[in-house]
Subunit: 508 residues, 4 copies
C-alpha cells in the first residue's frame, strides 16, 4: 500500500481540490500547466525520504499509540495546550533535528540576526499551512524571531515529522499537525489555526492553496485584515491567478514559486543531481556507456542531460520547441523523435510537462531491461495506465521499482509508477529548501511592510531586488565574494549600487 | 596603424553617430548599455578576419588601382551601370564566395524554396545598409527571390568584400560600396541608394542606424511609404528606442538584435568557441592548468567559463549580481573579488558590459606574462588608457598582441588593445551569421505583410513564433528531428500545434 | 553493532589471515600496498548493500530459524544432501535473483553459448571460495555449462545470500555457505569443499587466499593434481607472490586482480559513479558549489575528481608524485598541500593507498560540518583512531554516518568510520562484477587447457589477448561495433587480426 | 608551392634517410609504427607556424639576400667565425625571441640555477642536431651553463629560425644552420659540427638520427670517446633499436621520446587543444552540434574526443582494440564502424597509426562539406592518393585547405592533404617543448655522469625518477604544491621520500 495511491496523498500538487468546488479552475489548470513553475519542492518530501532523512523519526515513532491526537490531552512544559501533535514528549528529538537543519540554513539564520533588531514582522499574525519538517521549523522560528506570531497546520496528511511538530509545540508554537491525518483531521487542523478567539491572522503563508481556500469559503470577512498571501506551489499560484482573473482576489498575493532563484534550484541544479541519485538508489545501474533518451529540454531536461553526459551516458533528446531543440544540438545532444531510438535506449526519462509522451506503443517497443522514469510535471507523462492490462505481469522488486513483464519475457523497469522520480526516490537537499524558505520569509516581510497601495489585489512576483537578496544570503555557504560597483560604475550602468542589477524580465 | 583607431572604423558599434547630432542619445546610451543585447555580430567582421576568411580577396585585391570607384565608369554584363563597386571584373571571384556561403546558410536557401511560390516580398522595395559580405549577398539574393527589389550600401567603411560587391552588381543589384571608403564616400553611397528617380523604398534594413538616420534627416517624407524598419545592432536599436520614447518614430521597427535565438548564438554558444580560438591564435598558449579569472557571469561569461574549464583551466569568476554569482557557484567556479586572485592568475577576461573593471591598479599587480583581454560589451572594460604612461613600454609582438612592459621587466600581454577579442582575433562562424540573416529576412516579411494596425509606431521584438521558425530552419543542419504534438497533447497544453510553444517572456 | 567491527568481517581484504601463521607476509604486505591492484571488488558486498540489493532476501530471511545449518538435515529435490545452506526451501527465490543477474551478465551467457559445444572445462574439478551472490551463481553455472564440476564455500562470513546458496544447492552444486557463519563454520565449510571422498580438485578459484592456504596447510599433496590457482583479491595475490618469491608456489597461479579491464572498471569507472552515490546516500548533500579536496590522483582519485567537477564542485588535489600532480594540473585541478585548504573545504576524500593522510591535526582544523571519507586502499588513510579521545563526542546519526563533535560544538561528518565509502555505502554494479567473473572464467579455461610447460610455478597476469576477449564480450552491452583490421592493415601494423592489439605492458 | 611537397621536407619524421642506405630499416619501420611513441613534436614546427610564431622573422627575413651562407665571410662581435648562419646581424632580433622563450621555459631556467654550482656537464662536448628555434636555444644555453661545450646543426632544412641561429652564433655557439638549406648544405653543416680539429664530441643529442648515422658512416672511431646518445624522435629511436638488435649499437642511448611525461603532453594534453585550434584556423567552423567520427581511441583519440565533446559536438569512435573500445563506451562515445556513420558525419578525424583507415569508398560516401583530417601517426591514414583521379577536382581554398569536388558537385574539405593537422595547422605550445627540452637535458646529464657500467650498449628509457624530476620542474608553472611523504608514510609504502614513486612499468 503505497501512500501515493491513497486518496489525499498530494505528490507535487492537486490535493483536496477536486473535492471543494474548484472544478472549472482545475480544468483551466490542465489546459496550461506552466513548465517553468512546474512544481512545489517543499511539497515533495515523500514518505520514504522523510523516514530515511530523520534518524530520530525512526526510533521514536515506533510507538504503536493509536489514539488520535485530537482525543489526547497534552500540555507543553509551559502549561500551554494550544496545539495538537502526535506526542509532545518527542519534542527533544525534534529539537535536535531542527538544530541540525539550522546549520544548513545559514540564510535564515543570517536573516534572524540582521533583521532582529528592527523586528520587521512585529505585529504580524501569520497563519501557515505547509509541510511540517525541520526546515519549516527553522522558518517558523525565524518568523517568530522577526516579531511575528504564527499558527500552523500541515499542507499534506503524510509529510509531518511528528517530533518536529512536538518541538515546535513545546517551544510555544500553536501547531496542528501529525503524520497520517484523515481528511477530516486535515480540515480540522486548518480550522483550528484560523478559528481562534481573540486572534485573527493578518498574513497567510500557503502551500497548495488549501488554507487560502478554507478562509475564502468559511471566513471571507477575515480578508479585511489580511495584508497578503504568500503562496509557494504551482497549484496554489494557479488558483490565485484564477481568482485574480475572476476579480475575486481581495488581497495582494506573492507568487514565490516563480522567483528566479527558486526556479533554477528546483529545476536545473537540483535535477542535475537527483536524476543520478534517483536512478542509482532504485536500480544500482552503471551510467557509463548507457544510452538514454530525455524527453524535453527545459531546465529539468537540461539538468538531467548534463549529469548523465558527464557520467558517460550517451544522451538523446526529444523536443517540440525548435528553440530548445537548437539548444540541445549546440549542447551536444542528438535531437530525435522518440520512435527513432526507442528500440535501442537503456533508459527513458520524461521531463516535458506534457501527457502521454511515452505511450504503450513506445513501451511495447523498448528493449528488455529498459528503465522508464519521470522527472517532469506530473505522473501523466508516461502512460502508466496503459500497462495495467491482463497480458502484462507487474512485479514489485523493490520499493518504488516495478518490473512490468511482457508475455515473451521482456521486462521494463518502471520507477515510482511514473510519478516524479526525484521526489519519490531521492531526497531534496536542505540547501534547496533553504532558498525556498528564505524567499517565503522575505515575501512576508515585503507584503507586511509595503506602503499602502504598492500592491493591489493581484498576484505579484517577488521584486527582483528581493530575489537578489535571497541569493546573496546563500553566497556565504560557498565562501563566495561578491564584487561591489564603484560609484562611477553604477553611474555608467545606470544602476543602484545595491541592485536590482537586472530588469524584472531577465531570466538567466 | 590599426584600422580600429581610424575615425570611422566601427568595431562593434557606434559608427558615425558622434558626428551627426545625436549627442543626447549617446549619453543616454552610455548610461545603460544592455548586456543582453550587447553587440551586433554582423558588424564584427574585422579587418583581419575578413582578409583571412576570403581567399579570393587576397589575390584579386592586390591590384594597386588607386582610382576612386566614384570616378570610374563601369557596366555589368547586362549593360547596367546602376552600382558603384571597386571593380566589376572581380565578380566571378565573388560569385564563388557566395556559392560557398550558400552551402552553409541552408535556412535562407530553404526560405527561398518554401516562400518562392508566393513571393511574400513581391512589391517590396528594400533599401539596405549592412556589412557587404558573402553572407549578406546570400540574404540579398534571397530577398530578391522572394520578390523584393533591393538597393544596398555598406554600414562600415572597411568591411566590404569588393569581389562580393562586384558579384552582386553583376547579377543586377544596385550596390554602392567598397573597401576603404572615405567618410564622404560613406554618405554618398547611402544617398545613392535612397535618392533615386522613380524608385522609393518601402522597407529599411539597417545595421547601426546610419541609413535610418540619413532618411530622417534628408528625406523625412519618404517615411510615408515605408512600412517598417528592421534593425540589427545594439546601437541602432538603442537609437530607435530613443526615437520611440521621444514620440518621433514614425513607422514600426523590428528589433532583431534581441531575438532569443540570435542572443544565445551571439553570446553563449559563439563565445564558448571564440574565447579559445581568440586566445590560441594570438598567444599559442596552452589552456591546461592555467588559472583564469572571468569578470562577469552573464551569457558571455558562462560561455567563456565553460570552454576554459573543459580545456583544463582553473577558472575564477567575479560578479556583482548575487543571482548570477550563485549560478557561478553551482556551476563549479569560485566566486572571488578580482583583487583576491589578481596576483596569481595567468589570464584575465572581462565580460561585464561595465567600465574600468580591470584598473591600472589591477594591472600593476598582475604577475609577469599575464594575458589580459576583453570579451564584453566595449573597449572600456579594461582601463587601457591607464597603460599609456611614460614608464611603461609597449611592444607590438604580433598583430593584435601588445606586450606592456613595466620598469622592472614585468610584461603583461594585452590582446586587441582591450577591444572585443572575438571580433578582432577570431572569426564569426557562418552559422551564426545565418541565424541573423534569416531573422532579418523573416522580420522584413512580417513587417511587410502585417495587416494594417498590427504594428504601431513602436519598436517590436520578433514574435516568438517567428523566432521559433528561425530556429526550426536551422535544425536540418544538425539532422535534428523535432517532435510534433498530437492533437490531444496540444489540447492538454493549451498550445497550437505549430507554436508558439512558449510565452514571449520565456528566455531560456 | 556494525558487522564491520566483528572479528572476521573482511572489508576489502585480509580476513582470517592474522590467525593462520602468515605474520611475515602481512608485514611485507603492509610495506608495499600496490595502488594499482588495490582491492577486490567482489569482496565488497557489504552487509547493507547486500540487503537492499536483493529484495528476495528481505522477506524470506525473516525466519527466526536459529538452528545452525550444520545441524540440519536437508535434501534437494533430487535427493542429494551434499551441501550445507541455511534453508533449501528458499531455492525458488534465489533462482529468481540468479535469473535477473543473468540478464546483466551477458558476457558469461555468451561464453556459455560460444564455448558450450567444446566444453573447454570438461574434466575440470574446481573448488571455489568466493562471495556467494547471484553473480557468483551465474559464474558457477557457467563453469558447469563449460564442463566443470564445482564445489564452493564462502570467502566471507557475512556476504552469502542464503537464497542464492539454496538455489545452487537445489540445482546440484555442493555449496557450503550461509550468512553469519562463525569462524569455525568458515573453515568447516572450506574443508567440506576439498575433503571429499572420491573427488579431488584440479583447479582452485580463490578470493582472499584462505582456500589456497587451507589446502597448503592441510592437504599439500592435493597440489600434485592441481593445474592452477586463479586468485582475485589484492591480499590473495600478494600471498601468492610471497609464496612464489619464497620458492614455495607449487602450481601456476593467475593474478586476475591486475588485469587491465578489471582495474579500469574497479577504479576509474566505478569510483566515478560510486563517489557520488556514496556521498548522496549517506548525507543527501548537494554537490554544486561545494569545495572538495581529493587526496591522491591515481585512477580512483581521477574518477572522484572528474565526477565531482562535473557536478559543479570545486576540487583541489594533493599528490606526492609529480607526474600524477602534473596530470591533475592539466585536468584543471589546483594542486595543493592538504594544510593549505583544510580550513575551507566542505569534503575531504582520501584515495592514496597511504596511511595517516588525514591526521588529527587536519581534523582539528576542518570547518564545521566538513565531511570526511575514504575511497582508497584501506581504513588507515584517515587517522580515525585519533578521534577516539574523551573530549570528542561521537554521534551515530545514520547507518555509516557519525558526527564527531568537538568541545566547541564543531562537528565533522565521518562516513563509514573511514573504511571504503564505495564498498560500505554504495553498491557495486553488476556490470563490474560481470567483468571480474568473466575474467575468472577465462583464467580457469586458460590454465586448465594450457599445454604443459606454458605456465611454470609462478604468478601470471592474464594474457593480453584474454583481457581483450573479456572486453570484447562486454561490448554488446553497449551495442558497440568493433572495427576489424583488413589483411593489409594487419600486415602494416605487424599484428594478428584477432589481437593482441597492444603489447603486454600497455596500460591505458 | 607547399614546402611539404618538396623533396626534403620532413614533416613528422624520417628526413633524408631514404638517401643514405637505410632501406631495410625503413621497411622495418613501416611494418610496425609504434602508436605510443608516435611522433617527434620538436620536429613539428611547420613552415607556416614558424612564420607566424616569430614576429621577428617576418621583418628581418625579407632581405632578398641570395648569397649562400657557405659563401659568406661572417664574424661575431668577439671575432669568432666558427659558425655558419644566414646573417649574423640578425642576432639581436633572435636574442629577443630567446628571451621570450626563456619566460615560458621555467624548468630549464630552474635547472640552470640548481645545477649551475656543480656544473654537471663540465667537460661534456655535445654535438647536437635538432630544429633550431628559440626553445632549442634556451636548451643549448642551459647546457652551456651546466658546463658543456656544444656544436649544433639543424635536423630539418626548413625549420631553422635564422635570427635565433644568429643570436646563438653571436654568443659564441658554433651553429651551422639556416632556413632553406640544400641537401648538400644539410650534410655539410652536420659535418662541420663533428669534423673539427682539436675537438671531439663525447655526447650526441639527435633528433631523427641523421647526425648519429653520419658519425657511424664517416667517423665510426669517434664512438670510442662518446658516452652516449640522446634521441628524441620516433624514427631516430627506431633506428637505434634496429642497431641494438643487430648488435651494432656501440654506446648507450637514451630514448627520450617514450618518457611518460613527454608522451602525455605530446598526445593527450596537446591534442586536446590542437584539434580545436587546427580545425578552427583552417575552417572557422562551429563545433556545437556537429557530428564527428574519431578513428582510434588511443591517447590522441582520447584528447580529440574529450575536446570536441566539451565543445558540444556529437562524437562517434571507431576502434579495433576491444579494451580501448570499452573505454570509449564508458567515456560516453558510441562505438561504431566507420561505414555506419560515414554518410551522416560532418567531420572525420583519424588517430590510429594505421593506414587506409579512410578509404576512397568512405570518401565517396561522405556528405557534402564533410571535413577530413588526420591527427595520427603519418599521412597514410587517409588514402589521399585515391583522390588524385581525373574525375575529381581539387581546389586549394586556403593554405592547408583543399576542396575535393565530385562530378555531382559534392565537395569534401581535406585539411593538410592528410598530413598531421596539429603540426601543419596549429602551433605547439612552448610548454610542451619545454618538457621535451628538459627531458633531453636530464638525459644528457644522466648518461654523462652515469658510473661505468650502469648503461650498456643498449637503448634505455629515462629512469622513472628523472621523469618525475622533469614533471616536478614544471609544477611551479601552475603554482602547484607537491605533498611530501612523512618518514612514517615512506616506510609504510616502502618508498624513498624523493621517489621514484611508481614502478617503471606504471604508465598512467
Amino acid at each position: 500500500a503505497m501512500p501515493n495511491k491513497k486518496k489525499y496523498k498530494v505528490n507535487g500538487d492537486s490535493g483536496i481540490k477536486a473535492q471543494i468546488q474548484f472544478a472549472d479552475q482545475k480544468q483551466e489548470f490542465n489546459k496550461r500547466p506552466t513548465k517553468i513553475g512546474r512544481r512545489s519542492l517543499s511539497r515533495s518530501i515523500s514518505q520514504s525520504s522523510t523516514d530515511s532523512y530523520s534518524s530520530a523519526a525512526s526510533y521514536t515513532d515506533s510507538s504503536d499509540d493509536e489514539t488520535s491526537p485530537r482525543d489526547k490531552q497534552q500540555k507543553n512544559s509551559k502549561g500551554s495546550s494550544d496545539f495538537c501533535v502526535k506526542n509532545i514528549k518527542q519534542a527533544e528529538f525534534g529539537r535536535r533535528e531542527i538544530e541540525i537543519a539550522e546549520q544548513e540554513m545559514p540564510a535564515l539564520m543570517a536573516l534572524r540576526k540582521r533583521a532582529q533588531g528592527e523586528k520587521p514582522l512585529a505585529g504580524a499574525k501569520i497563519v501557515g499551512c505547509t509541510h511540517i519538517t525541520a526546515q519549516t521549523a527553522v522558518l517558523m522560528e525565524t518568523l517568530g524571531a522577526l516579531g511575528a506570531q504564527c499558527r500552523w497546520a500541515a499542507c499534506n496528511i503524510y509529510s509531518t515529522l511528528n517530533e518536529v511538530a512536538a518541538a515546535l509545540a513545546e517551544s510555544g508554537f500553536p501547531v496542528f499537525a501529525w503524520k497520517g491525518e484523515s481528511e477530516d483531521d486535515f480540515w480540522w487542523c486548518i480550522d483550528r489555526c484560523v478559528n481562534v478567539e481573540g486572534w485573527q491572522p493578518n498574513m497567510i503563508l500557503d502551500d497548495g492553496g488549501d488554507l487560502t481556500h478554507w478562509i475564502y469559503k468559511k471566513y471571507p470577512n477575515m480578508f479585511k485584515k489580511i495584508k497578503g498571501i504568500v503562496e509557494e506551489s504551482v497549484t496554489g499560484v494557479h488558483r490565485l491567478y484564477q481568482l485574480s482573473k475572476a476579480g475575486k482576489l481581495c488581497v495582494p498575493a506573492m507568487n514565490v514559486n516563480d522567483s528566479v532563484t527558486k526556479q533554477k534550484f528546483d529545476n536545473l541544479y537540483c535535477c542535475r543531481e537527483s536524476i543520478l541519485d534517483g536512478l542509482k538508489r532504485t536500480t544500482d545501474m552503471m551510467f557509463g556507456g548507457k544510452q538514454v533518451v530525455v524527453c524535453g529540454y527545459g531546465e529539468v531536461g537540461k539538468g538531467c542531460c548534463a549529469a548523465l553526459k558527464a557520467m558517460g551516458s550517451i544522451v538523446y533528446v526529444t523536443e517540440i520547441d525548435p528553440i530548445c531543440a537548437l539548444q540541445a544540438c549546440m549542447d551536444g545532444f542528438r535531437l530525435v523523435k522518440l520512435n527513432e531510438v526507442i528500440r535501442q535506449v537503456d533508459i527513458v526519462i520524461t521531463c516535458t510537462g506534457n501527457k502521454n509522451v511515452v505511450t504503450r506503443e513506445h513501451l511495447d517497443r523498448m528493449k528488455n531491461s529498459c528503465i522508464v522514469c519521470n522527472m517532469g510535471h506530473s505522473n501523466t507523462e508516461i502512460d502508466v495506465a496503459s500497462l495495467r492490462t491482463p497480458e502484462l505481469t507487474w512485479e514489485r522488486v523493490r520499493s518504488q521499482v516495478d518490473h512490468v513483464i511482457w508475455p515473451d519475457g521482456k521486462r521494463i523497469v518502471l520507477l515510482a509508477e511514473g510519478r516524479l522520480l526525484n521526489l519519490s526516490c531521492s531526497t531534496v537537499p536542505t540547501f534547496v529548501l533553504s532558498i525556498t524558505a528564505t524567499t517565503q520569509a522575505l515575501a512576508l516581510i515585503e507584503l507586511y511592510n509595503a506602503p499602502e497601495g504598492r500592491y493591489k489585489q493581484d498576484v505579484y512576483l517577488l521584486p527582483k531586488k528581493m530575489d537578489e537578496y535571497v541569493a546573496s544570503l546563500h553566497l556565504p555557504t560557498f565562501d563566495a565574494h561578491l564584487t561591489e560597483l564603484t560609484d562611477e560604475q553604477a553611474k555608467y550602468l545606470g544602476l543602484n549600487k545595491n541592485g536590482p542589477f537586472k530588469p524584472n524580465y531577465y531570466r538567466c
